[in-house]
Symmetry: C2
């Protein structure tokens, strides 16, 4: 294997780990799989990471962190707080990219047993809530939203979306993606004192009684 600078190699390892995790899940990502993915020996991984927990945590941080940054950028662009929240909601419906949310499921379950992963997942979840809270405060300041408790509202919106997305990804059949979007939008509108339909997202009818899955 070509020699690499420490920095580049660390990167390559995280990338490889990510590819594996995407296919087999965070919990089932092994040293040997990562090495095979890179085309290197397995010893190399432990030259850069103390523990497999660290590798997995780094891989998770890469995807989840990127999604966060991208959505944060979106927040910058859309000056309109309503558009920001709408964008936030639709960012949970990346068609054909269920694997990213599956990684969140893995992370939440494994958090109990993997300290490094727990730290990352906890930190990133907090960041998502904080971002949403900022958007809400913004909206309140601009008179677009009504919310006596932006922090609580942020966690409630985040939670309802997580809870719905979880059903979509874990048990495809129960709730489908358009139900999820419609319901999440409705919950957010109610939470922020918006008129029904304000947050409607593409691909989801926001009627009162969407067809059951």
């Amino acid at each position: 294997m070509a020699r690499m600078s420490a920095e580049r190699r660390r990167d390559a390892i995280v990338d490889a780990a990510l590819s594996v995790a995407r296919r087999k899940g965070l919990a089932a990502t092994t040293v040997r799989d990562v090495a095979a993915e890179m085309g290197s020996s397995s010893g190399l991984i432990h030259h850069y990471f103390e523990t497999m927990d660290d590798v997995v945590a780094a891989a998770f941080e890469r995807v989840a962190g990127r999604d966060l940054v991208e959505t944060e950028a979106l927040l910058q662009d859309a000056g309109n707080p309503t558009a920001v929240v709408r964008g936030f909601l639709s960012s949970y419906a990346p068609v054909g990219e269920d694997w990213a949310f599956q990684l969140w499921l893995d992370a939440w379950a494994e958090a109990a047993r993997r300290p490094a992963l727990r730290e990352v997942s906890s930190r990133l979840n907090r960041a998502w809530a904080a971002m949403l809270e900022r958007a809400i405060r913004d909206g309140v300041a601009h008179g677009e939203f009504r919310s006596p408790d932006p922090a609580g509202a942020a966690w409630r919106i985040l939670s309802v979306v997580d809870g719905l997305a979880l059903q979509v990804v874990a048990h495809q059949t129960i709730v489908d993606r358009s139900d999820m979007l419609a319901w999440a939008s409705l919950a957010a509108e109610r939470e922020l004192g918006l008129a029904p339909g304000t947050l409607a997202v593409d691909g989801a009818s926001n009627g009162a009684t969407p067809p059951r899955a």
Copy 2:
């Protein structure tokens, strides 16, 4: 090991598997651990279950199914739909029994990779939502609730509670139990057209701005 009837032995295996899962998680429950817990040989488990997936699924069904039945019983007793929903919410806060919810986290994550477990988790989740939906329809019929879409309302309430509970169990530090209860109650009240405080659960202040964790 004393000889047992097929029925009793199956039961014993599921019980043992449950004890192990409670300690090590669903994903890390192994044939040998279960055998050791029962004080039997490992071959015995495979005499009753085709696959480890089946054992784990049966164990999960036992706990989660029991919780469901208990809450369903509670629904029978409390003639008052408001009391039913309140009971439902507080059933998510069994102090010191985080392990039960941790099993849900495990199940959701593993659902992608274990068909039998996915079937159980999917079915039970659906049952919870159906139960809640029935309570809501009841409340609407009695004029206690206002909801144009009981099915959607049920999934939204279930999801916000799952999403919040998930934060409590996976990352103890982010949201604490009283935040969770207060926020979930608030969301449910809003969803059902109830006055704030109607659903307040013991141990949770339902103020607009609960202290951050």
